[in-house]
Amino acid sequence: MSAVRLRGFGWRHAGRKRWAVRGLDLRIEHGERVLLLGTSGAGKSTLLAALAGLLPEDSGEQEGTVEVDGRDPRTAREEVGLLFQDPQTQLVMARCGDDVAFGPENRGLPAEQIWPRVDEALRRVGFRYGRDRSTAALSGGEQQRLALAGVLALRPSLLLLDEPTANLDPAGAALIRDAVATALDADTTLLLVEHRLAEALPLVDRVVVLAPGGGVQADGTPQAVFAAHGEALAAEGVWVPGCPTPLRRATTAAGTELLAADDLALPPRLASISLTVRAGEALAVQGPNGAGKSTLALLLGGLLAPRAGRITATAELAGADARTPPHRWRAPALVGRIGSVFQDPEHQFVTTTVADELALGPRRTGRTEAQVRATVDALLDRLRLTALAEANPYTLSGGEARRLSVATALATAPRLLVCDEPTFGQDRRTWQELVELFAELRDDGHGLVTVTHDPEFVAALADRQVRLDHPLSAP
């Protein structure tokens, strides 16, 4: 039995000016399956942490009340299970069975009851391997499945899922949705946070939308909520089903060649591949996990030396430097020609403010201070970051960090842009801005290479596709 009651609930993390959640009134009955929506920064994760009893009283300031089964969640911990985004930082033990047993051990369950529970939890999530399988040998989707088993082994009556598929490729995400669907029973209350609605809707019977300023914006069955608020939600960045995204294919033929890869390979990460990259063309690189897509992006970006084959830049891209391969160029020369956007934006942050981050590249390539300031201001404005100019890059939300990392690559006006999963886990609004931005660059004659799992992105933007196969299965 797990019902949730929130009355005027609010939470402000210690040291923050803004309330993470505020003025929230909500009742969730036993056995309900609720999808929690809201723009990034609406406080969804904070709400889940509060329900899981993971906000110690001294870590912030609380308003109103929050109750799980009429109790303070901090004292009802055994009722609640919480699954996070990142499987890497949820697994504790080296062997799968031991990891699932970790929770029951913490609760002091007698040893003879633990292993049957472990086996049952593994079965409920459809785990394919035995207890002795090494957790390091699992794919991201399998690891997340195991993490779910670890949560279910505690038999929570309130299950909280915080974007459980955000870090996974489509195949891994499907694994988790199947596992959640089979694992739920009539006694489990579910609260799910998820951006990708089409996939999440079969799991839920109620949708609650948090308003950005606090409180509840919409509440009801999925049909009712989307009929009444669908367009507004889509405009705020929620992936509402049935709201198509505009197509932005190239209207002119591709231009001159910028970069050519001949029999490029980096065994065992990447099997041999040849391709050309042209100006005014968006090239999408697709393929299963482990096929070496990210490795290819690093090679094309001049960041990694190929072990076999070669990469040749044309004079159009590199001028007199065209005779040396990109990975031998000095970094300031490289960023003026090829910009790289990494999958994890935080890897690329070097300075302490957003504005400095944007100014770094132009300064390195020897622009005057006036030119630097003009570039920075234009990019801040273009990517809706002006209000955050003095913020520390590490404090940005996922969407803001992504916009900043793309903006930093554009600051040096490279002719070629190489992006690794730029739309991964982004809300609809950021997604559309990125597509629009990339399309403009392409139409201005820039070359664009994107490694991606995102079929909508490929459909909206890609003029040409390259498919990589797993290096071990390639002939």
């Binding site: 055994e78 930082t89 062997r95 002091g108 970006g301 690329q348 390195r364």
Partner: protein, 266 residues
């Protein structure tokens, strides 16, 4: 790359002993050896340790590969002492310019190198024969260490291999931002520092997320923890520790008997 996976035959009689017993035996050997400066005690101890290797199910070749970094530092110690030792007693063996190689210097250097190996070998054997999970279990169950410490360390340990990947990734990301050091050694040092800082920030964030995830699964619960895996500490385990004490004692006694013993203090 540091390799810490166990490489033993699981049925080897001493490898199967309780991890805490193995650890205690290794510490015992190491401590006694630190107490003396002569080359005889560690030489005898090394002979014992190598003779016992088959009982631990570890092949000499595997152990040698793991001891490789030790070998390099041994050469370093040897060269440094031979070149720069202040005390140059004993017979002169060779003379080259300002360098004077005497028998006294060589014996001191040899003693140091042997001690280094004798102290490190038991530890290497323990690591090579022990599953980290078993060690954490035994530390909690038999050595009564707090579970929060033992399993916290074990979980953090799982994230260590990620650090090497992360380092490479951050270095490439810096280059993609136009940051490189070229041939300037000062710039190189600065770049190394800032890369290390980013790595540290990332590691702390990841560690924090892991800690929250562990607490969400009741790791911070006040109820006493139960044990899904049992570690037994039996008579054989006690005997292993006693045996280690006897071996270390024998090495010391022989050293004193032949007059080679030089205590660290006094």
């Amino acid at each position: 790359m540091i390799n810490l996976e166990p490489v033993t035959r699981p049925d080897a009689p001493l490898a199967r002993r309780n991890p805490v017993a193995k650890l205690a035996a290794a510490l015992l050997c190491s401590f006694i050896l630190i107490a003396t400066l002569d080359p005889v005690t560690p030489a005898i101890a090394i002979a014992f340790e190598l003779a016992l290797l088959p009982l631990f199910g570890v092949r000499l070749r595997v152990l040698a590969r793991r001891a490789m970094p030790l070998l390099f530092s041994a050469v370093g110690v040897l060269v440094t002492l031979v070149l720069f030792a202040a005390e140059r007693s004993g017979r002169i063996l060779a003379e080259a310019g300002p360098f004077l190689i005497t028998s006294g210097v060589l014996i001191t250097a040899l003693g140091l190198v042997l001690r280094m190996f004798a102290v490190a070998l038991p530890g290497l054997i323990v690591v090579a024969t022990t599953d980290p999970t078993d060690l954490a279990d035994a530390l909690v169950q038999n050595a009564k260490l707090p579970a929060r410490f033992a399993y916290g360390a074990l979980a953090a340990f799982r994230l260590v291999p990620l650090l090497a990947q992360e380092w490479q990734m951050i270095s490439m990301a810096r280059r993609a931002r136009g940051v490189d050091a070229g041939r300037n050694p000062l710039a190189r040092l600065r770049l190394f520092g800032s890369t290390a800082f980013t790595l540290l920030v990332g590691a702390i964030r990841r560690g924090t997320r892991l800690a929250v995830a562990m607490d969400a699964r009741g790791f911070d619960a006040m109820t006493p923890r139960s044990m899904a895996r049992r570690q037994h500490f039996g008579r054989a385990d006690g005997l292993l520790i006693a045996g280690a004490a006897v071996l270390a004692g024998t090495a010391l006694t022989v050293s004193i008997a032949v007059g080679a013993f030089r205590p660290l203090i006094g």
